[in-house]
């Protein structure tokens, strides 16, 4: 089994550094244990404030979070071994094969989408991509995602609608083709059509070598993209794990029942 492990999170504790000078911080993750295998799709669900977004930011190495205890290991594509990534910068994690789709992607004024994408791919793949090749790749992915090519001529996310921003994240996902895709509330703010397009975009990429972590509040995304495992997060801890059937129970009983059960235990 361990040969197939892509990501291993052990007893992870992390806090948000509110004010670096005063050393004020808020504890958010309280001992997370999670194993992601290659080719599997995991869903992490939980109420607001449970630490879902923090977990995704910490995995990608956001500087605002401090890890106080625990370990994160990721399979190095070259050695095939699980190695600690705690000391790696976000761009180094990305180059190892990690990808994070943001709940609210920032806009960067004046940065043309196509320039950004090409620079990103050059860094991820470790080599320059000829313009013609890049254009071809971009065109194919845009049409597969039913996206308007005009978007790539604009500045990154500037003036984009919520749905356009989310599709831009999926476009990057499908160009980068990471080993691990962490999608933080990719379904929020999407109407039914956009949700279908985004879900199709994800399903196109599901294969035996790629793992997904879907972070979501609701089951509607999970109706399109079927998870192999579901984890319920509360107060910075995973309180329940199970298969796809957990989604149904959750939809019926709500988070409250799980939270209470966990407290009793």
């Amino acid at each position: 089994m361990s040969e197939n492990v892509l990501l291993e999170i052990t007893n992870l504790h992390a806090e948000y550094v509110n004010n670096q000078e005063d050393n004020e911080s808020i504890k958010i993750l309280n001992g997370i244990n999670l194993v992601i295998e290659q080719g599997k799709t995991h869903a992490i669900m939980g109420p607001n404030g449970s630490g879902k977004s923090t977990l995704s930011a910490v995995l990608m190495g956001h500087p605002a979070y401090k890890i106080t205890e625990g370990e994160i290991r990721f399979k190095n594509p070259e050695s095939g071994q699980l190695e600690s990534i705690l000391e790696l910068e976000p761009h180094e994690r990305a180059r190892l094969g990690m990808f994070l789709s943001f709940q609210s992607p920032v806009s960067i004024p004046g940065l043309p989408v196509s320039l950004f994408l090409r620079n990103s791919l050059k860094n991820i793949r470790g080599k320059d991509i000829p313009v013609r090749e890049f254009r071809k790749e971009l065109k194919e992915n845009l049409s597969a995602l039913e996206m308007n090519p005009e978007l790539t001529k604009r500045y990154l996310n500037e003036g984009f609608s919520g749905g356009e921003k989310k599709r831009m994240e999926i476009l990057q996902l499908s160009l980068i083709k990471p080993a691990l895709a962490i999608l933080d509330e990719i379904d929020s703010g999407l109407d039914i059509d956009a949700l279908r397009q985004v879900s199709n975009g994800i399903n196109r990429l599901v294969d035996a070598n790629r793992s997904f972590v879907l972070i979501t509040h609701y089951k509607r995304l999970l109706e399109y993209v079927k998870p192999d495992k579901v984890h319920i997060l509360s107060k910075g801890r995973i309180i329940k794990e199970g298969g796809n059937e957990l989604v149904e129970t959750l939809e019926k009983d709500g988070y409250e029942a799980f939270v209470k059960a966990a407290e009793v235990a």
Binding site: P90, A94, F102, I108, P109, N123, I124, L156
Partner: protein, 478 residues
């Protein structure tokens, strides 16, 4: 003792910069004539005599010299730095070759080498309309493509223009910026040498940008070029000037005067990127007039120099005239960019737009200093001023001094907005999560910040500017 310590400090600084500065090479000094240090009546008479100038120009120079000697230093801007300029240590005229090169073959080899390093011949192949390359104080290479000649466009260096088009020069010279305008305009008027002269006949559209390259190559040499561009009725011209300078151990002074005249319905765009090495004082007077329905655009980038004081001005003198000033300033370590603009609405229904972007890094200091004036009677005028400052660290500084003098109310719209920001951590994290290193990410955010300026530049300038910014960011490591 004090001055000894100071000299030593300067030396340390320059030797560091010499390694640091990308264009810090220089060729052996082969100048034919070198005037003495300092400016005097004798030096001015010599300059005029060597150039074989008409009496009126000699009189003009001598009058300007008298004004220069009397006029006090500006009491605003970087007053302290201004008082460090040692006028008596400067060479006011250096002639690099005996005569002008008519074509590329006649240009001396070491000068060609310098141009090669700057990539000029290549640029020429691409889209040069004509080259006026100023090497030291005089033009050494000059060419005008046949199609320009056919159009009747006059494009020469200023000295030649005085000889072969004396009537046009006399009619417009110093009409926009008289010698008594300020101390540095007076200095330039007394000691000017070189610069570009352009006259575009009525109803003529010069489709290709005209370019000139300038370069200081003699230690302690001031460069006082003088540029005059006249766009006759309903004509259109774009002039581009770019600079790099070698690094030297003592301060250099660059004090140009640029006058633009856009007659009725004409359009002039003047684009500059200046990248002087960080020992240069760059004190430039740039001013334009726009007559009825004319349009003037200054696109002005200041990256280098020790101190830049530059405020391109536009006088909207005719109804319906339009003025634009787009500028960026980059202030790095030990640099002060005091830049801005001045727009005077002196006729009804005139419009103007100012966009200023500044970057400060490693303790650099950038200031925006701008004036918009709407005269009584300039009803229906509209102006929009936007100043954005981006700070790259906590030790750098940015100031904004926007002045508005509005004397007319009828239909006048004035809009002003200023922002000061830092490079956003979330933007960097986003880019880094896509495999982009922190330095490259910073460069991308900064290039995005100045994109509204960069997109107005011709392609190779835009590419070079982006590359410069990226290099600066890579130098920021540690």
């Amino acid at each position: 003792m004090d001055s000894l310590t100071k000299d030593k400090k300067n030396k340390d600084k320059s030797s560091f910069e010499k390694e640091d500065y990308k264009y810090g090479f220089h060729d052996p000094d082969n100048s034919v004539y070198k005037s003495e240090r300092g400016l005097s009546e004798e030096v001015v008479r010599n300059i005029s005599k060597m150039k074989d100038e008409p009496q009126w120009m000699l009189d003009f120079r001598l009058n300007a010299l008298a004004i220069f000697l009397k006029k006090p230093m500006p009491n605003w801007g970087d007053v302290e730095s201004l008082h460090n300029i040692k006028f008596d240590d400067i060479f006011y005229f250096v002639k690099s070759t005996e005569k002008q090169g008519r074509n590329w073959d006649e240009v001396p080899e070491d000068i060609k080498n310098t141009f090669d390093k700057l990539g000029i011949p290549e640029a020429e192949q691409k889209f040069l309309g004509g080259v006026t390359a100023q090497y030291e104080s005089e033009v050494v290479y000059h060419s005008i493509r046949e199609d320009l000649e056919k159009l009747g466009v006059l494009f020469t260096d200023m000295d030649t223009a005085l000889k072969i088009h004396p009537e046009i020069v006399k009619k417009y010279f110093a009409t926009i910026i008289p010698p008594n305008d300020n101390k540095f305009a007076a200095l330039n008027s007394a000691a000017w040498s070189g610069g570009s002269f352009i006259y575009v006949p009525p109803d003529t559209d010069v489709a290709i940008p005209l370019q000139a390259y300038f370069r200081i190559n003699t230690e302690n040499m001031g460069q006082f070029e003088r540029t005059l561009i006249i766009a006759d009725k309903n004509s259109k011209v774009h002039y581009i000037e770019g600079c790099t300078a070698p690094t030297y151990t003592s301060d250099s002074l660059h004090s140009a005067v640029v006058e633009l005249i856009a007659l009725e319905g004409a359009t002039i765009r003047y684009s500059t990127i200046q990248n002087w090495s960080t020992n240069v004082y760059n004190l430039v007077t740039k001013r334009a007039v726009a007559e009825k329905n004319a349009r003037v655009e200054w696109v002005d980038g200041n990256i280098g120099s020790k101190l830049t004081m530059k405020y391109p001005a536009i006088y909207l003198n005719g109804e319906g005239a339009h003025g634009e000033v787009l500028s960026i300033a980059y202030a790095g370590k030990n640099q002060h960019q005091d830049a801005g603009s001045k727009i005077v609405h002196a006729a009804p229904n005139t419009t103007s737009n100012i966009l200023s972007k500044s970057l400060s890094k490693a303790g650099g200091h950038s200031s925006y200093r701008g004036l918009v004036k709407v005269h009584a009677g300039a009803y229906g005028s509209r102006t929009n001023v936007q100043c954005d400052a981006l700070m790259l660290d906590d030790k750098s500084r940015s100031d904004t001094y926007p002045y508005m003098e509005i004397e007319e109310e009828n239909g006048v719209k004035v809009h002003h907005e200023a922002t000061v920001s830092k490079v956003d951590d979330d933007m960097l994290f986003y880019l880094m999560s896509r495999g982009i290193s922190e330095d490259e990410a910073k460069g991308m955010v900064i290039n995005g910040f100045i994109e509204p300026f960069t997109k107005e530049l011709p392609m190779e300038y835009a590419v070079e500017l982006n590359r410069l910014i990226q290099l600066e960011m890579e130098g920021a490591i540690g």
